[in-house]
Amino acid sequence: MPPVRGGEKGISGLKLAAWGVVALTAVMAVVFASRFGSDPALSESPLLGEPVPDVTLSRLVGEGEVAMDDYRGSILVVNFFASWCLECRLEHDALVAASDSFTGAGVEFVGVAYQDERRDSLEFLDELGLSESTDYLFDEGSRAAIAFGVFGIPETYFIDPDGAVVGRIIGPTDALTLGSTIDAIRRGETPGQQRLGNTRSSPGDA
């Protein structure tokens, strides 16, 4: 009687399927591993190359309102900070130094207080020293932060004299980076985006 191998055939199909599952799992592991490090917070801002968001904010220091478009014709540096942000303390001196150094050189600095109380932001500036050449603004309802696509602070955006967003720094910046980015924009280059360190999303963010 010829042997009937139906049962063995079933195991062979099962083996094939099992190898398929193993191969599939391996490929999926590679795919998902490749996504590590591509945090959406680090993905290139869709704002780069686009016009500066049309937002108007009230002043934190002084009276009145200021629109981003008011700075057209100058290079604009927009820095988002808050009193609860440790990294913002680390970069504060660099921002004050850069703002003061570029005074009268066609470069304007704006500090936007993000997710903060006015009183706390003012205390922060009192403690660390404010730049006379910087416009400090208050972001009521996170309008500016959402319009700029802020994930966490500090974040700093660079806008060219034509009003196009040309640079973004995620994390605490330093004077050389600020200055060389402005120098690059003056040469007509597009600095793009870079990450320099940690950011914080909210006061409780460790």
């Binding site: 139906g6 795919v31 996504r35 917070a41 850069a98 985006q193």
Partner: protein
């Protein structure tokens, strides 16, 4: 450990229930639980907000997040919808400046292709697996049935043989033998037919390269689809180090005076900051901008961290600026003397001292003495040496300062 102990302890009535039925019941319970706990969105804003991932939270939609940022995003969403924005415009108002990955229901594009393909591949693959297993099981079910028929055939064949023997021995009458033979033969024919019917099912169960090839092809195609999607993921990864970082690697001479000033102002206590101060002072000095050069030179001259030659250079520049810029001859000579004290090996302060004495104090003889000392100290640069020699000749001849 005894095999299947837990299952064996179950009552026979439960053990008899097929796994497929249990699976369906479990899925039904899950479905009922999902439906009963489903909280429909209160309005359009809630519905859209449930599709937008809060950028400052971990995988929570803005409609459900207590964070102030999510609350502010919901406010903008509501306002946009109240102002008559379409669904897409409202999403754009909130996510316009954020990368598309914040949508919890991602669009179909190159980078999300794998996300959409995986469930389809899993469904097709899972279905294929179930079918393979079922076929395998059916094939193994056939084996006992076939054996049973073959046993029957063998038994009938034995009965026919025995009948022939009985007939030959005259142990059975003709009529009875005829009836029995007819009955055995009918049974034999039936069993043969049954065996023949089994054959087409049993046949493909033997080794089939075709099936293996089809299975392999399905897996290869699925893998290829996933690899292509993975490629899209990799290509889509943003280059986060380009741009600004490139500027930092450039030639330091690319940095503007303002950038150097900012770096100096922000790093007053840095051990190497005096080199940068001196470099910026030199730039301003070369441009004839003494007013800008002065504070940096002064900082270096009075710095505890500056190297000796740096202090001497700063004092020399300050001395020259005091004379050339302000006409303060005594201050200039004092500063140049300090420079000589700090760096006695540097002949440059002495040369400038000669110039200031000659031009500021009209003392050609004292200047000539200074120039002689400079030449005696050994000036290596031929051009500088020629200049000092020229000045020495002029002072020795009693000429007035040419400035």
């Amino acid at each position: 450990m005894a095999e299947g102990t837990i299952v064996e302890r179950l009552p026979a009535s439960i053990r008899a229930v097929p796994w497929s039925v249990l699976s369906i019941v479990a899925m039904a319970i899950a479905l009922v639980a999902l439906v009963s706990t489903y909280d429909p969105p209160a309005d359009a804003a809630e519905e859209i907000g449930s599709l937008i991932r809060c950028p400052v939270c971990q995988g929570v939609p803005i409609a459900d997040s207590p964070s102030p940022m999510a609350r502010d995003m919901m406010a903008i969403l509501r306002q946009s919808l109240d102002e008559g924005a379409t669904r897409q415009e409202a999403i754009e108002a909130v996510l316009g400046a954020y990368p598309g990955s914040l949508l919890l229901e991602p669009e179909v594009n190159a980078s999300t292709l794998a996300l959409w393909l995986i469930p389809v591949v899993a469904l097709v693959g899972g279905g294929g697996l179930v079918l393979t297993l079922r076929r395998g099981r059916r094939a193994s079910d056939v084996v006992p049935e076939r054996r049973e028929i073959e046993d029957r055939l063998a038994a009938v064949r034995a009965d026919l043989d025995e009948l022939a023997l009985q007939e030959a021995a005259g142990d059975i009458d003709q009529e009875a033998a005829h009836h029995l033979r007819a009955a055995y033969q009918t049974e034999f024919t039936e069993a043969q037919t049954a065996l023949a019917e089994l054959q087409p099912v049993a046949e493909p169960l033997a080794r089939s390269p075709r099936r293996v090839a089809i299975g392999a092809a399905v897996i290869v195609v699925a893998l290829a689809a996933i690899v292509v999607a993975a490629g899209a993921f990799l290509v889509d990864r943003p280059d986060t180090t380009s741009g600004v970082a490139g500027a930092l690697e450039g030639d330091p001479s690319d940095y503007s005076n303002e950038t150097l000033a900012a770096v100096i102002a922000a790093n007053q206590d840095h051990p190497q900051i005096d080199g940068m101060r001196l470099a910026l002072a030199e730039r301003h000095f070369a441009e004839g901008d003494y007013q800008s050069a002065f504070p940096y030179s002064l900082d270096v001259a009075s710095s505890d961290l500056a190297a000796r030659p740096q202090v001497a250079t700063a004092l020399t520049r300050l001395g020259w600026m005091a004379d050339d810029g302000n006409g303060e001859v005594d201050t200039a000579l004092d500063l140049l003397a300090q420079a000589r004290t700090v760096a006695p090996e540097d002949p440059f302060p002495l040369y400038l001292e000669g110039i200031v004495t000659w031009c500021g104090n009209d003392d050609a003889a004292a200047a000539a003495a200074a120039f002689r000392e400079v030449l005696a100290s050994g000036v290596e640069d031929a051009e500088v040496r020629r200049q000092v020699e020229g000045d020495l000749a002029a002072t020795e001849a009693g000429e007035a300062c040419p400035r």
